[in-house]
């Protein structure tokens, strides 16, 4: 079984310069470890897709790895703006980036359509909204029964999706619990999928209808305890809200940003994450 490998190898094998990639997670289970590995490996000219680009995309944008961002909410959730991304959009630092902006409903439907093998998603959306005028990928079609005009957006089909999850069993089947977000769709919509998990176990030991990804739908599975920090893994460790508040200061200027990236990402390793979550672990 070659599914299991180091995070280094999983990123090296599955993420190429110029790829369209999604590192998904809806506040919960954000794949920080995988994104940091991508930063260390210096990938460039990426098109990054995400409903809620937060710290990891802010970091990748700030490191100049990103050519285009496809998103629906580019904020630091509950804190405010993403300063590195804003700097790139407003001032072109460290490089100009293209953006393709949608609503959450559009992106959720577009991932769902990607997972469903469809070329586009159809929904009732963007009524009166300004994004239609600035994004040529927002189109419409007509219901052949009622004549209602519905919105259409292209389905999302990333070259590669990275997610973080709770557990994998020894065959590589993966369990996600709690706020499952768009994780399953992001994996099934992609050509390749890499999953970091908190733990590899004998038995997933879960509910019949839990969110489980079969091993044959995945490209690589890597055990990275703490791999979501400062996001969280439900029931295992809490969200590091303080780190999200701190990011607002760290990212406020170029020097403090670059210094933080050197210490905490470039000179760090996936093994460092476990220590960062120790004080956040749930007492059982």
């Amino acid at each position: 079984m070659t599914l299991f490998c180091s995070l280094h190898d999983a990123v090296a094998d599955n993420l190429k310069d110029g790829d369209t990639a999604a590192f998904e997670g809806f506040t919960h289970l954000i794949p920080h470890a995988a994104a940091h590995e991508a930063i260390r490996q210096g990938r460039k000219d990426l098109t990054l897709i995400r409903m809620t680009p937060d710290l990891i995309y802010d970091q990748m944008v700030g490191m100049g790895m990103v050519e285009k961002l496809i998103f629906s909410y580019v904020g630091n959730p509950g804190v405010g703006l993403l300063r590195r991304t804003r700097d790139a959009i407003e001032n072109g630092w460290p490089r100009t980036i293209k953006i393709e902006e949608h609503s959450h409903a559009a992106m959720a439907n577009a991932y769902e359509a990607g997972a469903s093998g469809l070329p586009c998603a159809v929904f009732r959306g963007y009524l009166g909204a300004g994004l239609k005028d600035v994004n040529s990928n927002i189109r419409s079609l007509t219901c052949p029964f009622t004549g209602e005009e519905l919105a259409a957006v292209p389905s999302i089909r990333p070259d590669v999706t990275f997610i973080h999850a709770h557990r994998a069993d020894r065959k590589g089947n993966v369990l996600i619990e709690g706020i499952i977000g768009i994780q399953k769709e992001a994996v099934l919509a992609a050509n390749r999928a890499v999953v970091t998990v908190e733990q590899i176990v004998d038995d997933l030991d879960t509910h019949a209808n839990a969110c489980v990804l079969p091993h044959w739908s995945l490209s690589a599975v890597c055990e990275v305890p703490g791999g979501a920090h400062p996001s969280y893994t439900h029931g295992i460790y809490d969200r590091d809200n303080a780190a999200y508040l701190e990011w607002d200061k760290i990212s406020a200027d170029h020097d403090s940003f670059l210094a933080w990236m050197k210490t905490n990402v470039l000179d760090a390793s996936p093994e460092d994450l476990e220590a960062r979550v120790s004080r956040l672990r749930k007492v059982k």
């Binding site: 809806f26 506040t27 919960h28 409903m51 809620t52 998103f71 629906s72 909410y73 580019v74 904020g75 959730p77 509950g78 804190v79 405010g80 703006l81 993403l82 991304t85 804003r86 959009i89 407003e90 902006e101 609503s103 959450h104 409903a105 959720a108 439907n109 991932y111 769902e112 929904f123 009732r124 959306g125 963007y126 009524l127 009166g128 909204a129 300004g130 994004l131 600035v134 209602e148 005009e149 709690g178 706020i179 499952i180 977000g181 768009i182 399953k184 769709e185 969110c211 969280y232 439900h234 029931g235 809490d238 969200r239 590091d240 809200n241 303080a242 780190a243 999200y244 508040l245």
Partner: protein
Amino acid sequence: MTSLDFTPDEMMTIAASRMLSNEDVCFVGIGAPSAACNVARLTHAPDITLIYESGTIGTTPDVLPLSIGDGELCETALTTVSVPEMFRYWLQGGRITIGFLGAAQLDKYGNINTTVIGDYHKPTTRLPGGGGAPEIASSSGEIYITMKQSVRGMVEKIDFYTSFGHGDGGDHRQRLGIKTKGPTLLITDLAIWRPNPETKEFVVTSLHPGVTRDDVQKTCGWSVRFADDLETTPNPTDQELQTLRALKERTAAAHSG
């Protein structure tokens, strides 16, 4: 406790909380809407259903979430669904009675901008964007908006239509094929506003205690209309204030990490 022992911000949250009932199924935006919804739940509307776009349905958090996807929301929810399901079955499916939104920029017809200040392609300030708001605004039964008043925030013309309210007013929603009511209520730190039934322009219907018409006009970028039967918002009760303050204290303690 004397009648002015509360801040305008507290008055705003409490006034908003009073508008919610046990029967409501409320799609909750983060920030002021989240505080108002949870104060309602902890006071007069214990059976209100709160839904956050992260997929948490019927959530009853003990502290306010920092993000829309804090673990607390899932732990205390009746159930947690995927994000596509949330937007397809619950929002687009027409099951939300009230969508509760904040705004960076707002006009008198309840149109909201949280996308950019300045030109979209060369923005002066790039804001976070719409997130769930464009479809919350069109698919929820009605929309409540809450924001602090300022001339920068409440403007004659917004820079970008993130979420459509009543457009240019009148029957603009219906003309676009939108079947829901749109903004029916605006609660600021100074007043309660409701749309004129014909023009759909927001009209002040109640001033918060101690607030003058002039206070409202000075912090609003459009020429304000006041209702003929202008009321005064009742003071927060002790229970409302204590509930809100205890919630904020628990929240601050939890988020300081």
